[in-house]
């Protein structure tokens, strides 16, 4: 095989990209490794929002809610002495999904701009609670001093180098899971609802149930990113629920293209 043929092959650039990501921590300083970790976590967050915005056509303005719920859960669990990562991530995803299940009941009754207004208000409610309920959440000071979790596999996550590979692995798993989910009949149904809700209804699809399920899935995957960000940064405060985070995620989707 000639060099030119290899360059033209479909797997060359993905392969090069994968090699670059694996070698990245050895090529750049610690600062850039930290930045790359943030990119992976935010990618998970933006992908989870894309289930709603891109695939179902629901412009959620309050996606930080589920991220923040999982983040606070992680903080409380760590400070209570729970350091097992697998337990925390399952709880974080569960709580993210649970809060989405509750908010979805309220928000999915409205559509268009009303939907945006309600999701924005609901996420701000959580921000308000985190900000005001000082005896539990310490208010604006947040919960500092959260360390890295234990994996139970003999890998120490404390150095950023290992945490980098760990978040990258979780990013790939999330990517694969979302790919399977959104290319399943369920994913096609969501895109059908995005294109024409009335037609999907006429074809006999349970439109509300599918939207609701999409809403919950988005909450579950947002939970993963919330847990990871707390372990990366080491603290939680009400800004995890902030409007700016929800809006930034929307900007990420607009920049990268959504619904693909």
């Amino acid at each position: 095989m000639k060099v030119a043929e290899i360059l033209k092959g479909p797997f060359f650039f993905p392969f090069l990209f994968a090699v670059l990501i694996l070698l990245f921590p050895f090529l750049f300083s610690n600062y850039y490794v930290g930045l790359a970790i943030q990119i992976f976590i935010m990618a998970i967050f933006a992908m989870s929002l894309d289930i709603l915005v891109g695939h179902t056509g629901l412009p959620s303005m309050g996606h930080a809610a589920y991220y923040g719920v999982a983040a606070y859960a992680t903080g409380f669990l760590y400070l209570a002495g729970v350091k097992n990562f697998w337990l925390v991530i399952v709880l974080g995803m569960g709580l993210g999904g649970l809060s989405a299940a509750f908010f979805g009941l309220l928000a999915l009754r409205a559509r268009g701009p009303y939907f945006m207004l309600i999701t924005l208000a609901l996420s701000q409610v959580l921000w308000g609670i985190a900000f005001k309920w000082r005896s539990l959440t310490k208010g604006d000071d947040g919960l500092p001093g959260i360390g890295r979790p234990e994996l139970g596999l003999g890998i120490d996550l404390k150095p950023d180098l290992y945490f980098y590979y760990f978040t990258f692995a979780l990013f790939l798993i999330t990517l694969a899971a979302l790919f399977i989910l959104l290319n399943s009949p369920f994913g096609y149904t969501l895109r059908g609802i995005r294109e024409s809700e009335s037609r999907m209804k006429a074809l006999g699809y349970p439109v509300w149930l599918c939207k609701y399920a999409g809403f919950i899935f988005a909450g579950i995957f947002a939970g993963i990113s919330g847990v990871l960000w707390v372990y990366y940064s080491g603290f939680v405060n009400p800004s995890y629920f902030g409007v700016d985070l929800s809006v930034k995620a929307l900007l990420m989707l607009i920049l990268g293209g959504s619904g693909l």
């Binding site: 701009p113 207004l117 701000q124 921000w127 409007v243 809006v247 607009i254």
Partner: protein, 286 residues
């Protein structure tokens, strides 16, 4: 008894300030379907500009006029230069207004710094008044009076004037309004300016007792959101009753259970959302 009277009056004055902010938000949303996240920024900007003018001239009325003109100009510029290019694209409009939130907040932080400040009260209302055997600051009563006057003025404007009729028609069916030969862009700019003006006056009269500090823009937006969701988006009557409800609950919540004061505010909102997603006085979709 004195506790209840004072807290009720405190709640009422907070409600009236809230009504000014929420009324502008609801007018803009009702007509243009823009979720103006930058609405609290009008409050912030107006209070800061008012503070500067007050320090220079010591005249509250002059400061109110100067800050009102400034926020109306900012509001008109936002609508006519930026938002009209994204007409009926709700998501883009929201992101754009969020950009304004960041710009205005950072500019204010740059110019006025990050320390919380309170506007001095107008000299006429620095004292307090005896109501029966309760002492109450007269400025709070002045705020209630201003709120009621503006509410009545808005009601007359909406129900009795031609421009008010055009706005009401636009809320109901904006396409028909355009079809009948009304220059809708001028109406949009006018309503956006009016919304900014109301939030700006809210900032001026709220400045002496709520204060002005970085972050007050978002907390005002949050309260305005709760008000319009409870009252119904696009309805001034809903905004008025919603403000009364939110202002009083917020005040009694803070006085009685300080830690859980936001629950007393948000639980009713969730209940209203569950029963009527468009609010008590909002119009039902489809």
């Amino acid at each position: 008894m004195a506790f209840w009277i004072i807290q009720t009056l405190n709640g009422l004055s907070f409600s009236m300030m809230l009504f000014l902010v929420a009324a502008g938000f609801t007018l803009i949303f009702g007509l243009m379907k823009i979720i103006n996240i930058a609405h609290g920024s009008f409050y912030l900007l107006s209070a800061y500009i008012g503070l500067t003018v007050l320090r220079a001239t010591e005249n509250f009325l002059l400061a109110t006029i100067a800050s009102s003109i400034a926020v109306v100009l900012v509001g008109i510029a936002m609508q006519s230069l930026f938002l009209r290019r994204f007409y009926m694209k709700e998501l883009q409009q929201v992101l754009l207004t969020f950009g304004f939130v960041l710009i205005i907040a950072d500019l204010c932080l740059w110019i006025w710094g990050g320390n919380p400040m309170a506007l001095p009260k107008p000299s006429l209302f620095r004292g307090s008044i005896w109501i029966g055997n309760v002492v109450f600051p007269s400025y709070r009563l002045f705020v209630i009076l201003v709120g009621v006057i503006i509410a009545v003025g808005l009601w007359i404007f909406q129900e009795k004037t031609k421009f008010g009729a055009i706005v009401r028609a636009g809320v109901d069916d904006e396409e028909m309004l355009r079809g009948s030969g009304i220059n809708i862009q001028m109406v949009f700019v006018g309503v956006f300016g009016l919304g900014a003006l109301l939030a700006g006056i809210g900032g001026m009269i709220g400045g002496p007792f709520v204060g002005v500090f970085p972050g007050v823009d978002m907390s005002m937006l949050l309260l305005a959101l709760v008000v319009v969701i409870i009252g119904g988006v696009g309805s001034l009557k809903g905004a008025f009753l919603g403000s009364l409800f939110v202002g009083l609950t917020d005040n009694f919540g803070k006085a009685l259970f300080p830690e859980l004061s936001l629950f007393t505010l948000f639980a009713p909102m969730a209940i209203v959302l569950a029963i009527r997603p468009t609010g008590i006085f909002g119009k039902i979709e489809e």
